[in-house]
């Protein structure tokens, strides 16, 4: 009864029996198309770095930030151990618990919620981080005896000109970034982690995203954001191994040894004023961005991948200001998603960019770039930053490790 059945094995058993009910038939059809590439839909969970950073960006996001509501360090650590095992199982396409959605005792609620039964693992990655408030609370209290281990790079983000941050979209003691090619797989993972965490953590805020807005690998075409422009052309990519150590992965020499192999994640919820942007002329849009809309080529000439000649771009264009050459060569790995939260009270699209960027040190990367952008970027007229959070993303768990085990060691 407690045999671990992977979703793929369940599929096989579905195929073996004559399934008459319509729901099951639909299930089989759906899975057959989703699981053609069997090995490639599982992203390894364990390793030197956490998955979900240099992993080629998936299509869907469910991001969740938590408050820790226990004062008991052991209780928190136990949750992280249970979460890690559940996360590993789910990334393999199995249930959150060891028994699964339908194989448990009839009198007990299942240890997996079941909506991912029969679905492909969909390249699910679950990436875990800890926020500054885990180390010390607003009153400066050392909550779990971790204050001395707070990395210097995990300095609270400063305010930026034009910020209109809301508590409802900001901060968090912990975060989990769930990415998958199937939204139901990502939602399933977050739902089950939230359920397991009740009494120890509570959801502070969460964000669904669709349509990756960056490529994180040479194998991916550059996608478009909701402004209709290609985004992330000069992103840091998985293939740039040497650059990753310089710009992405925290090093032991950076100070916090427990973070070696980890990275720092800045999350910003950036609302776009879609309707006014849509009334802007094509020429103006291209001058604001600094690229042409059709190909994504810099306005200084060439094709999408041609390096821009910054001096030939409009001085307040986004590409010119955000380019590494304007920022001491600093680079980030951007991994954001578009979001649409329906419509606001005026009937306007409540939409924008859920910006996610991983970097070795936010003080010299995101903070430096955002200061420049906040001061001069022509895009600011069409953007409002409404949410902000910062997390230290520990190195990947090795065999037997758990999320954050180097921090709690």
């Amino acid at each position: 009864m407690t045999v671990e059945l992977s979703r793929r094995r369940l599929l096989a058993s579905f195929g073996a029996v004559a399934v008459g009910a319509s729901a099951a038939t639909v299930l089989v059809e759906r899975t057959a198309s989703a699981s053609d590439a069997v090995p490639s839909d599982v992203v390894p969970f364990r390793g030197a770095h956490q998955a979900g950073i240099t992993t080629p960006a998936q299509d869907r996001l469910h991001f969740v930030a938590f408050d820790v509501i226990t004062d008991d360090r052991d209780e928190l650590e136990q949750l992280l151990r249970r979460w890690t095992l559940a996360a590993e199982r789910m990334t393999r396409g199995e249930g959150a618990g060891p028994v699964g959605a339908v194989d448990g005792l009839p009198d007990a609620p299942p240890d997996d919620t079941g909506e991912a039964l029969g679905l492909s693992p969909a390249r699910l990655t679950l990436t875990f981080g800890v926020g500054p408030s885990l180390f010390v609370d607003a009153d400066g209290r050392d909550r779990f005896g971790l204050a001395s281990r707070r990395p210097e790079a995990l300095a609270d983000l400063p305010g930026f000109a034009g910020d209109r941050l809301e508590d409802a979209w900001s901060g968090g003691d912990l975060c989990v970034q769930a990415c998958a090619d199937d939204p139901q797989v990502a939602v399933h993972a977050v739902r089950n982690l939230v359920r397991m965490g009740m009494g120890v953590v509570r959801v502070r805020w969460a964000q669904l995203g669709f349509g990756r807005t960056s490529s994180t690998s040479d194998s991916q075409a550059t996608p478009r954001n909701l402004f209709g422009f290609k985004d992330g052309t000069s992103n840091l990519r998985a293939e740039e191994t040497a650059e990753l150590d310089t710009h992405l992965w925290a090093q032991e020499s950076d100070g916090a040894a427990w973070m070696a192999g980890g990275s720092y994640l800045v999350a910003r919820k950036i609302r776009m004023t879609i309707e006014t942007w849509d009334r802007t002329s094509l020429k103006a849009q291209e001058e604001i961005v600094g690229r042409d809309k059709r190909e994504g080529a810099p306005l200084s000439g060439g094709t999408e991948m041609t390096a821009p000649v910054l001096g030939e771009l409009p001085p307040t264009s986004h590409v010119r200001l955000a380019h590494p050459q304007s920022n001491n060569g600093v680079r980030m790995l951007r991994r954001g998603f578009s979001y649409v939260d329906g419509a606001d009270s005026l009937g306007r699209l409540d939409a924008g960019l859920f910006f996610l960027a991983f970097q070795r040190d936010p003080r010299t990367a995101f903070v430096a770039v955002q200061r420049r952008l906040a001061a001069s970027d022509a895009l600011n007229e069409y953007l409002v930053h409404v949410g902000s959070a910062l997390f230290a993303v520990p190195p990947g768990p090795g065999e037997g490790d758990f999320w954050g085990s180097t921090l709690f060691a």
Partner: protein, 378 residues
């Protein structure tokens, strides 16, 4: 009220869709009890067996008809709903798992439009297997919980008599003072009283739950008179009905066959009431005395837990430790909101306070949902 007619048996019901059913059969997960196939067609309702051994029984309800169907399992009295599955669409099979005691039961297939269904009597034979009350600690649990229900029932009746007298005297102040206190006794045993769907409706319906063509009666009708209309004019018949229905209820309660799983699932159901009706402030929309009900539901869940605790401590001491600390944490949050003899009004709670209550409810309700399985299988 009123997760309508979901009552005692609800949390034990597995509404397994066809998806779940297929997976079960391949995984042989339901080998632990009898299975009865039910074919519900247009004007037909056929069961593969009309005699089952006592214990866990799984009904696989297949709708071969053209309309959405419902399937009910009633206790021996033919009116107390033990469990139900609704919205079984044409062509769909759903499973219903229910624990039946030896004796008789009744099943009914019914189209969703409310017309009379087709009933079948079921014989439930005593079986040596899975008689949960065979364990002494569980037999004790049943006796302890029966005592709790009897005490609360007596207090509910006495309180209702006093409340009804105040209403009939036109004593608004006294009636308002008694209202949340008396309802405490209802809310403590809510899963038990809700198993009588007719009385749950006449006693505890909210205004938007009143079915067209029927009169709105019961506690919430009088709540509206007291807090919104601020007048008891014309309320005497409602008050008389309240008392008559309560007396009827008190008379019926001894017929309920309590079992460890009913008690455990009752605890879960009470926390579900808190999570969906009380922490959201939906129960007492006029009086705003939701926290009285909140406390009473928690009291009821605690009493059910206390009855099962000796058995649970044998079966799963870790779960017992968790539940006790979570009960204590929730009670501490409630204690902080006490005022005079009762609580602050729901409208006086800040958003942050509501959120903290909701977090504490989730923290308890999630592990509590494993109570029944732990004691029944432990």
């Amino acid at each position: 009220m009123l997760l309508r007619a979901r009552a005692l048996a609800l949390p034990s019901v597995l509404l397994a869709a066809a998806l779940g059913a297929s997976a079960c059969s391949s995984a042989d997960a339901t080998a632990s009890g009898a299975r009865v196939g039910v074919t519900a067609g247009d004007g037909t309702c056929e069961l593969t067996a009309t005699s089952v051994p006592a214990g866990v029984v799984t009904f696989a309800v297949q709708n071969t008809g053209s309309q959405v169907a419902e399937f009910y399992v009633y206790a021996a009295d033919g009116t107390t709903i033990l469990s139900e599955v609704e919205n079984v669409g044409p062509g769909v099979t759903r499973e219903l798992v229910v624990e039946l005691a030896a004796g008789t039961a009744k099943t009914t297939c019914r189209p969703s439009d409310g017309v009379d269904g087709i009933s079948t009597d079921l014989t439930v034979t005593a079986s040596g297997a899975l008689s949960a009350t065979a364990k002494p600690s569980l037999a004790q649990a049943v006796e302890q919980y029966r005592g709790f229900v009897a005490e609360e029932t007596a207090a509910l009746l006495a309180g209702t008599e006093a409340f009804v007298a105040a209403v009939k005297d036109g004593d608004v102040a006294q009636a308002k003072a008694l209202y949340p206190q008396v309802r405490t006794h209802w809310e403590r045993i809510e899963p038990v009283v809700e198993s009588f769907a007719d009385l749950d409706y006449s006693l505890d319906a909210r205004e938007d739950g009143v079915e067209p063509g029927t009169q709105w009666t019961g506690w919430h009708r009088l709540e509206k008179a007291l807090w919104i209309d601020k007048s008891l004019t014309g309320m005497t018949p409602v008050a008389d009905q309240l008392l008559a229905d309560t007396e009827d209820l008190v008379g019926r309660i001894p017929s309920i066959e309590l079992s460890p799983s009913l008690i455990g699932n009752g605890a879960t159901a009470l926390m579900e009431e808190v999570a969906t009706g009380k922490v959201t402030g939906e129960e007492e929309r006029y009086s705003r005395t939701d926290l009285w009900d909140f406390q009473a539901n928690v009291d009821g869940a605690r009493a059910a837990y206390d009855a099962l605790a000796p058995a649970l401590k044998d079966a799963d001491p870790g779960l017992a430790t968790t539940l006790e600390s979570r009960f204590a944490a929730l009670q501490a949050k409630l204690d902080a909101l006490k005022q005079d003899d009762g609580f602050v009004l729901y409208d006086d709670l800040s958003k942050a306070q509501v959120r903290e209550l909701a977090d504490a409810v989730d923290a308890l309700a999630e592990p509590l949902s494993n109570l029944t399985a732990s004691v029944v299988n432990g």
